[in-house]
Symmetry: C2
Amino acid sequence: MTLEASVSRSVCQDDRGEVLPALDEQVIESSTANRLAEVFKALSDPNRLRLISLLLDNEVCVHTLEVVLGMSQSAISHQLRHLRQLNLVRFRKQGRHVYYALDDEHVRDLFRQGLLHVEHG
Amino acid sequence: MTLEASVSRSVCQDDRGEVLPALDEQVIESSTANRLAEVFKALSDPNRLRLISLLLDNEVCVHTLEVVLGMSQSAISHQLRHLRQLNLVRFRKQGRHVYYALDDEHVRDLFRQGLLHVEHG
DNA sequence: CTATCATATGTGCACTTATTCATATATTAT
DNA sequence: ATAATATATGAATAAGTGCACATATGATAG
């Protein structure tokens, strides 16, 4: 059930000069919007979310991700590169394996909160 | 600062038969991943984030969004249609104006949490 | 009625993204 | 050495996204 009454103001350009300055204060800055969008974009693909769900508490090697997720090795590796470039995962080489783990608490928190909301309905 | 020590297991396919079933339990389901991705995708564009930041606590008409955000009327309207289709905004027609407001607490929460993280560093 | 204002929508285009395919690199085994 | 395994990467492709432009709808003012 959606809460009403969360809107404090009703704003239209007819009221220009009064409320527009207030709105200008409320828009987030473009640089902030860009960084925020980058984070959310990392979480905006189903396969990447499934991958992240595996890395939340585990350190997992690439081939295992491939098997569990049912994706091609190349697809996994490309996604990991993407996450690496955003500094969202860390990795550790051991022998011929590479273990990946999630390395960003923001993303971990957002993932979990989003999951809670989506799961319960 | 990123916390270490959040990884409880190290998983590789060499251990197949032991840990793979456990990992299978941990992957989120595809249907969940899809719905989750849809929510995050709504938050994955800078202009849409700036728009949402205005609708967080206010009901704002389209032309005002256009002015404050410095975007074309068409772009605004298309973004609003997108958000409408995801049931993220509600709207109210009054005369020739249409007032939009955010209508999804999940998104509101995720936006605020993401903003907190991104703003402080 | 006509004109104007506010918003919506269809179309096309530039750009991005996720994937596959082929290939490269690096490690271990024989 | 060669072969096999594990991972990475570049190129090509297909699908998706955001926006501009033109146009349509609907409401009000004259």
